[in-house]
């Protein structure tokens, strides 16, 4: 893209195109390039490589969380609760398996709650991840109440001294108000069981999703309050640029990225690495 080039109009156009093709969205892409232009002018930048580095740092700054680490942080007393939510097929159940493994490697005791009581074999799928991650699991019958599963899981976690309870929920489109109310109910159950809000409510996004991800973040945020985002499937060709809009508009930190289907394919979010990959 740049290699030894001089800065010209064409270069700004190319950068805008790159951002749009990364799912940053046309409005935000135009805004970022306008900001880049002003900054490049005030810094008298004429070399294309320097311009690209400036854009990278601009993106990284936008994505950087205000707090130190992107990783989830436990609450004052165990068990800490992590509620995982999102639309259908984004990678929630797989991400939970990876997170459980990550926490287990840190020496934490983890218990999984199979609160997707709707989709075919969802409980069996989580069971396999629990075995792989060496985590406990609480499960009910298919078709049972997700809130009841969450409650039992938290009670079991207290009894067994688990550090974290991770609650898997059914995928649901944010346009389905009945399903969003069900999710709010699961969160209320968590509050009743522990006397406080879940430590983390993570929205799992599919990196291939376009501008609809903004709607997802907005509606899930209104329903249960999001403390973080996980971008799964970043190992494909999709760049996941939608996180720029989410961070800018809602301020939700990006916590982890999923880079494959294996148990180790999860990494804490790095703004610099993400900004770098955006311009590859």
């Amino acid at each position: 893209l740049t290699g030894g080039r001089q800065v010209d109009e064409g270069l700004f156009d190319e950068l805008e195109e790159l951002l749009i093709e990364a799912d940053v969205g046309p409005g935000l892409a135009a805004e970022l390039v306008a900001e880049l232009r002003r900054e490049a002018e005030s810094q008298h930048i004429t070399d294309a490589d320097a311009l690209r580095d400036l854009m990278r740092s601009q993106v990284a700054t936008l994505l950087r969380a205000e707090t130190g680490t992107p990783e989830i942080v436990p609450g004052p007393t165990p068990p800490s609760v992590l509620l995982v939510v999102g639309v259908n097929g984004t990678g929630k159940t797989t991400t939970i398996g990876k997170l459980a493994h990550l926490l287990r490697k840190q020496g934490r005791r983890v218990l999984l709650a199979a609160a997707d009581t709707f989709r075919a074999a969802a409980i069996d799928q989580l069971q396999i991840w629990a075995e792989r991650a060496r985590a406990d699991i609480v499960r009910h019958q298919e078709g049972s109440d997700p809130g009841a599963v969450a409650f039992d899981a938290i009670e079991a976690a207290k009894a067994r001294g688990a550090d974290w309870v991770i609650i898997d929920t059914a995928g649901r489109l944010h346009t389905k108000s009945g399903l969003m109310r069900e999710l709010e109910k699961v969160q209320r159950v968590c509050r009743r069981a522990t006397g406080r809000d879940p430590e983390e409510v993570l929205l799992v996004l599919d990196a291939t999703t376009g501008q609809n991800a903004l709607r997802q973040a907005e509606v899930f945020g209104e329903a249960v309050g999001l403390t973080g985002v996980v971008v799964a499937k970043l190992d494909g060709t999709a760049k996941g640029g939608i996180v720029l809009g989410i961070k800018k508009r809602f301020g939700i930190p990006i916590r982890y990225v999923g880079t494959g289907e294996g148990i180790d394919d999860l990494a804490p979010f790095s703004p610099e690495e993400f900004a770098h990959a955006l311009f590859e």
Binding site: G27, G91, I128, L173, D206, Q211, A238
Partner: protein, 292 residues
């Protein structure tokens, strides 16, 4: 939506009298913005706005009482034309069984779609067989088994230790010997950039020569739709596409991208999680959705 934006644009312009080429460019910029926000891919948007520019510069818009509405009409008509397809039915074999192969990215909705297609066929009096060849995803075989139970059709699996191509071939023999008229092969989700997995689906395709290969694409997909569609169509003979999760509020621009880049017909729309949530694809509906 685009209608309101164009009305506002033309209101400003019309007050100066006759429309100029620069005025039309302003209108086309609004169209471009609307399509990009609807997830139509960058290059397709460029080609699309170039294609309608001539009409936009024509007499119909210049003389229209409401030039904004006229431009919307041009855009809508062109969208429907591009999205519409010449072949919407599923292929059927001269001698059964008809073999249908489903392929696509992880989580796009293939296993659910397999169930929906099976249910549709069974309701018409057909005898579809659901075949599990996803040997990777935890509990994938069990998932399709439950789906088959829920829609009331026979199920075929050979565990997760054999090659998908071998399982698929055995399923076809099984269907023949049991006089089942259709074989629906569900496959593992895969990345178009994973060479090993693309070899795997190619091997399945070569082993059974499907009459119908369907790419299952999530309608929430953004700019990446072009990459996915191009690579899958380049690897196996894709006959048609199914768009899923259209019961959401994604604008669905991926539909236009995929039509423009591959020319493959969009055959079905997945509109819910239940197995009756399957519709034939309606180009006008998605055109309106893309326009916003």
């Amino acid at each position: 939506g685009l209608s309101e934006k164009l009305s506002a644009t033309f209101k400003k312009l019309r007050s100066r009298g006759r429309l100029t080429e620069a005025d039309i460019s302003a209108a086309l910029r609004e169209v471009r913005m609307a399509l990009l926000e609807a997830d139509v891919s960058f290059q397709v948007v460029k080609d699309f706005t170039n294609a309608i520019k001539e009409q936009a510069l024509g007499e119909e818009v210049a003389k229209a009482l409401s030039p904004g509405q006229q431009v919307v009409k041009i855009v809508h008509t062109e969208l429907v034309r591009l999205l519409g397809s010449d072949a919407t039915g599923l292929a059927t074999a001269e001698t059964p069984p008809t073999i249908i192969l489903l392929a696509g990215l992880q989580g796009s909705g293939k296993t659910t779609m397999a169930g929906k297609l099976a249910r549709m066929m069974a309701k018409r009096g057909g005898t579809p067989l659901l075949v599990a060849t996803d040997t990777r995803r935890p509990a994938a075989i069990r998932q399709l088994e439950v789906v088959a139970e829920q829609v009331g059709v026979p199920f075929f699996q050979m565990g997760d230790q054999l090659e998908p191509a071998r399982i698929a071939a055995a399923a076809v023999s099984h269907a023949r010997s049991h006089n089942l008229d259709t074989v629906i092969i569900d496959t593992a989700g895969r990345l178009h950039t994973d060479a090993e997995m693309m070899d795997e689906i190619r091997a399945v395709h070569q082993a059974v020569s499907p009459h119908e290969t369907l790419l299952v694409l999530d309608s929430l997909t953004g700019q990446d739709a072009v990459n996915v569609a191009t690579e899958f169509c380049g690897t196996v003979d894709v006959d048609g596409v199914v768009l899923t999760k259209l019961d959401g509020d994604a604008r669905g621009g991926a539909a236009l991208s995929l039509r423009a880049v591959t020319g493959k017909p969009i055959k079905f729309a997945g509109v819910g999680e239940k197995f009756d949530a399957l519709e034939t694809f309606h180009p006008e509906r998605i055109a309106s959705r893309i326009l916003g």
